[in-house]
């Protein structure tokens, strides 16, 4: 871009003022900044500000209806000695780990299946998405009924089949409750994993499989040596998201169990809500929420450094 200062017509007495303004007008960085402002505004108001406020609240003793005082890390010290908090951490880790692992397994299986030439392929693909498009609360309510202690269709069926004599107390027993919420989460999360991995599978050129066929690969060897390695970048991304969504899950648990029985299904998100909004202890609730940050960062780091970067994906000659 032409530099205004150098053009002779502008070399007049009021040179200095004009220069500064013209430079701003013609500065590409300045223009770039203005293009960025809307996006930055959204990020600041809807992400950075709530995050900052949450962290700030966690350092105060704010209660609902009362402005808090800065109390340093006292909230965190309390939590350190709080058995229920640690139970929720354990629950969250268990929930995330088990649900994500199974979602990955089923999702990958479904993706591979849907990538084959099946009859009614388009319809099957659409059907796989159903759990994903049903609002979470609706599916949670459905599961609530499915796992109801008296009217559960599972108990009813098993009783009629003569396998059990009495209703299973799905959401009243700590182990059963955990299994049920994990099951519901898997049901809801599989479509995302499956469809994303399917998209990844479709980027693998069919001629690679043909080449591998001629090279003498069995179906398993093709998966092991071609499909899986080529899919790892997408697996890394989809599993990072899946882990983040599962770790911060709230709706499903709150609609099904509210953290019960005996806090056995309390996740950090639900405990935080209970302490902050139900009990009014905003500071403490915020501290529980903020305690999730290190876990989430760790998950992102693992995916970023461990999985996402592949030498063969880099275009440049930089080995």
């Amino acid at each position: 871009m032409a530099d205004i200062v150098l053009t002779p017509t502008k070399a007049k007495p009021q040179l200095r003022e004009a220069t500064a303004w013209d430079q701003v007008k013609h500065n590409r960085n300045w223009l770039g900044f203005w293009f960025m402002v809307p996006a930055m505004g959204f990020l600041i108001f809807f992400l950075a500000y709530p995050l900052g406020l949450g962290i700030w609240l966690s350092l105060t003793d704010t209660k609902i209806g009362r402005v808090g005082q800065f109390i340093g890390i006292e909230n965190y010290e309390w939590l350190w000695d709080d058995a229920i908090f640690w139970l929720s951490v354990t629950n969250t880790l268990l929930y995330t780990f088990v649900a994500s692992a199974i979602k990955f397994g089923i999702g990958l299986y479904l993706a591979l299946l849907l990538n084959e030439n099946l009859p009614f392929k388009a319809m099957l693909r659409a059907a796989v998405l159903i759990p994903f498009i049903v609002p979470t609360v609706l599916s949670a309510l459905a599961f609530w009924w499915i796992f109801d202690s008296q009217f559960s269709i599972i108990s009813w069926s098993l009783k009629h089949l003569g396998i059990i004599d009495y209703n299973i107390n799905f959401l009243g027993d700590t182990t059963w409750a955990r299994i049920c919420v994990i099951f519901a989460n898997i049901w809801r999360g599989v479509p995302f994993v499956a469809i994303t991995l399917l998209a990844g599978l479709q980027t693998v050129s069919p001629s690679l499989y043909e080449a591998a066929t001629l090279d003498g690969a069995t179906r398993w060897q093709m998966f092991r040596h071609i499909t899986y390695p080529l899919l790892t970048p997408i697996i890394a991304v989809v599993m990072t998201f899946s882990v983040l969504f599962t770790f911060t899950d709230f709706q499903l648990i709150w609609a099904m169990t509210r953290g019960g029985p005996v806090n056995s299904t309390h996740l950090m998100a639900t405990l935080s809500y209970q302490r902050a909004i139900i009990a009014g202890q905003l500071g403490e609730g915020a501290a529980i929420s903020s305690a999730m940050i290190p876990f989430l960062l760790a998950a992102i780091m693992v995916s970023w450094f461990g999985l996402q970067r592949r030498k063969w994906q880099q275009g440049e000659n930089n080995d």
Binding site: S205, S207, L208, E210, A211, A212, T213, L214, D215, G216, A217, Q221, H225, I226, P229, L230, R310, K311, W312, Q313, Q314, G315, E316, N317, D319
Partner: protein, 355 residues
């Protein structure tokens, strides 16, 4: 190394038949090029040979063995794909050694095989690179290296040069031919480019609409095309075709469009007045006083030769001259086809009429 026999092979996709009974004998060590316009079934035939497509009917045998129901990996063939199909996540060495690895070969056996192939193709300095880090020509060579490593009975090439730029294509053409002379492995090569076919083949198979139009050495096809399709397909610029009638009463001749008189060495028996197509290659025109008058439309000098597009009896023809004439658009010239080198085809069937 092995001979390959393709006998009356047909292929249908659903009710649509794309190959209508193709028979091609391929001798041990021969370099056969399947050439034809897109959609003629040449790639399908190659993929059937590789085992990537089922054979609807007929037989394909490699050596003495009918391979119709033999798994691709058992056929002992290697294929070079149009897009190379290199495994992007493997180094050049791993790409080349993959088939040996799957076969359960020992590590040192694999590296010996890979090294030998890399030396043949001058790939040794690139063995640790990934496909992304290679140029088009290098990738092409890796794809060939992958085929060589396996030391197969038959090499199959599916339009391997069509993704390269013109200069590299010429270089790789020579390289593939040289490689074949060195390894003497039976090779089946598919292309739509007749120049590739002419320059590389021991035997060319011209295919069109699922049938074999003609089979033969490059010069046989060039000198005596069996029909109008082959005549038009082989040779560049393409052969000129002029419709008209055969004159056999008195001295043989041909009456072209708008009564243009064209020379003919001898007319087929009883052919007076028979409608036919007169074919003459651009390089078989000379400038002569007794030639037919033509008006120059465009002159394209290429340095080694000059292509002249002209109107002859109202039809556009192209002539190629090695000598440098001073031509300008609009000039009138007299073009005379060499009577011993012209071709005559039946107007209805396209079959060759003269010997």
């Amino acid at each position: 190394m092995s001979s390959v026999q393709i006998r009356d092979v047909r292929k249908s996709f659903g009710s649509f038949e794309v190959l209508h009974g193709v028979s091609i004998p391929i001798e041990d060590g021969e370099f056969v090029v399947l050439v034809g316009p897109s959609g003629c079934g040449k790639s399908t035939l190659l993929r059937m040979l590789a085992g990537l497509e089922n054979i609807t009917s007929g037989t394909i045998s490699i050596g003495d063995r009918v391979v119709n129901n033999v798994q691709p990996k058992e056929r002992d063939i290697a294929m070079v794909f149009q897009n190379y199909a290199l495994y992007p996540h493997m180094t050049v060495a791993d790409n080349m050694g993959f088939s040996l690895k799957l076969r359960g070969a020992k590590q040192d056996e694999i590296s010996t095989g890979v090294k030998r192939a890399a030396e043949i193709l001058a790939l040794t300095p690139l063995l640790d690179r990934y496909p992304r880090q290679l140029s088009g020509g290098q990738r092409q060579r890796v794809a060939m290296g992958r085929a060589i490593v396996r030391d197969p009975q038959v090499f199959l090439f599916d339009e391997p040069l069509s993704n390269l730029d013109a200069k590299l294509r010429v270089a790789m053409r020579t390289e593939i031919k040289e490689l074949h002379q060195r390894l003497k492995t039976t090779t089946v090569y598919v292309t739509h480019d007749q120049i590739e076919a002419m320059t590389m083949a021991d035997k060319i198979v011209v295919m069109h609409d699922g049938i074999v139009e003609q089979m033969g050495t490059p010069l046989e096809l060039y000198d005596t095309p069996a029909n109008q399709f082959v005549a038009g397909f082989i040779g560049s610029p393409a052969m000129n075709f002029l419709k008209g009638k055969v004159k056999s009463n008195g001295s043989a001749g041909f009456e072209g469009p708008n009564g243009v008189k064209l020379p003919l060495k001898s007319a087929p028996a009883n052919s007076e007045g028979q409608p036919a197509v007169y074919g003459v290659r651009p390089e078989h025109f000379t400038i002569a006083d007794d030639g037919a008058e033509a008006e120059i439309v465009v002159v394209e000098p290429t340095g080694s030769e000059t292509q002249v597009f002209a109107k002859l009896g109202g039809e556009q023809v192209v002539a190629v001259f090695r000598e440098r004439h001073q031509f300008n658009p609009g000039d009138k010239i007299r073009l005379k086809p060499d009577p011993s080198l012209v071709h005559l085809f039946d107007e209805a069937t396209g079959k060759r009429l003269n010997g």
